[in-house]
């Protein structure tokens, strides 16, 4: 007798599968809200950012660049490159969605994040049905949670009168330090990553001699990324 290995997924399954990741998201989203408020973004801007950009590391980079005085155009460009990484993640699981219409795929793809990608990869081991509904449940739960965390963080952050006294201006660098450290430890490509870090830091120091801060940041980042890519083979 032939067994059916087809798994039935649903929107609500997507929601429940997402719940374990929500706590991690909450704390990051919360911190993101505080940082964005400290960097001078209004509540509306923060809400819109978390709704449309919806990516932790990209949002922090936006706040960081704005705090360093970058014009909007440069921020957008930098964020574009950072987000291309998300496109690559999408490409990895894209084959499973080949059956669905392009519009559906676009909606699903625009809500993709590292964490939901991780859940998707570990979950979708066998053939499944209603993948789109499951994905929607997963992504929407994560996204709503993220926006709420950002807004609440921003509200609470706005109440603090003198951020510098409590060291809050260090929140953003601390966030990057934490994210970078976790990224490096997770990827375990220590040699490459240390090379990139060295080049980015040194490159910045060098570039800052001649260039304004945010330009130096981007020049250094691009150079470091190129060096990282080129030394792979």
């Amino acid at each position: 007798m032939k067994e059916s290995a087809l798994e039935e997924l649903s929107f609500s399954r997507g929601v429940t599968d997402c719940i374990p990741t929500l706590l991690g998201y909450l704390s990051i989203g919360f911190a993101a809200g505080v940082i964005e408020a400290t960097a001078g973004m209004s509540l509306l801007e923060i809400a819109l950012l978390s709704i449309f950009l919806y990516a932790g590391s990209a949002q922090f980079i936006v706040a960081g660049l704005l705090a360093a005085g970058a014009p909007i155009a440069s921020v957008i460009m930098t964020v574009f490159f950072v987000n291309l990484r998300h496109l690559l993640l999408s490409a990895a699981i894209a084959p499973k969605f080949a059956a669905y219409s392009p519009i559906k795929n676009f909606l699903i793809g625009s809500q993709l994040t590292d964490e939901t990608f991780g859940v998707a990869v570990s979950r979708l081991t066998g053939p499944v049905r209603h993948l789109d509904r499951w994905m929607l449940g997963l992504n929407m739960t994560a996204h709503v949670n993220w926006v709420a965390a950002n807004v609440i963080g921003a509200l609470l952050g706005g109440w603090i009168a003198d951020p510098e006294r409590y060291g809050l201006h260090f929140a953003l660098p601390a966030m990057f330090i934490g994210l970078a450290a976790m990224m490096v430890m997770q990827r375990k490509q220590y040699k490459k990553d240390l090379l990139v870090i060295g080049c980015a830091a040194g490159g910045f120091a060098l570039a800052f001699i001649w260039l304004p801060s945010y330009v130096a940041v981007m020049v250094a980042a691009v150079l470091a990324a190129i060096i990282g890519a080129v030394t792979e083979r």
């Binding site: 690559l88 970078a180 910045f204």
Partner: protein, 83 residues
């Protein structure tokens, strides 16, 4: 995702993009730790540089973003008090 189901990026472009987040974050940290936006900070006025190391240590030890940020802020606050 619409396009990428059909698009194949060349290997060097993929590799470049993989390194971008780390590169950007490092550059931003360097910028905030070494400068005040306009000029270099001299070692005796640069508190963030001192705060960098304990924060990094906490990040490596706890692997928790929340704890790292709280620790970083606390160190900064303590340094601001002591200065």
């Amino acid at each position: 995702m619409v396009f990428l189901s059909k698009l194949k990026l060349p290997w060097y472009a993929k590799k470049f993009l993989q390194h971008v987040p780390l590169a950007v974050m490092t550059a931003l940290v360097a910028q905030s730790v070494l400068t005040d936006g306009e000029r270099w900070l001299s070692p005796d006025e640069d508190l963030e540089w001192i705060a960098l190391f304990p924060t990094l240590a906490v990040a490596l030890l706890t692997r928790s973003l929340l704890i790292t940020v709280v620790a970083g802020i606390s160190v900064m606050a303590l340094l601001a008090l002591a200065a």
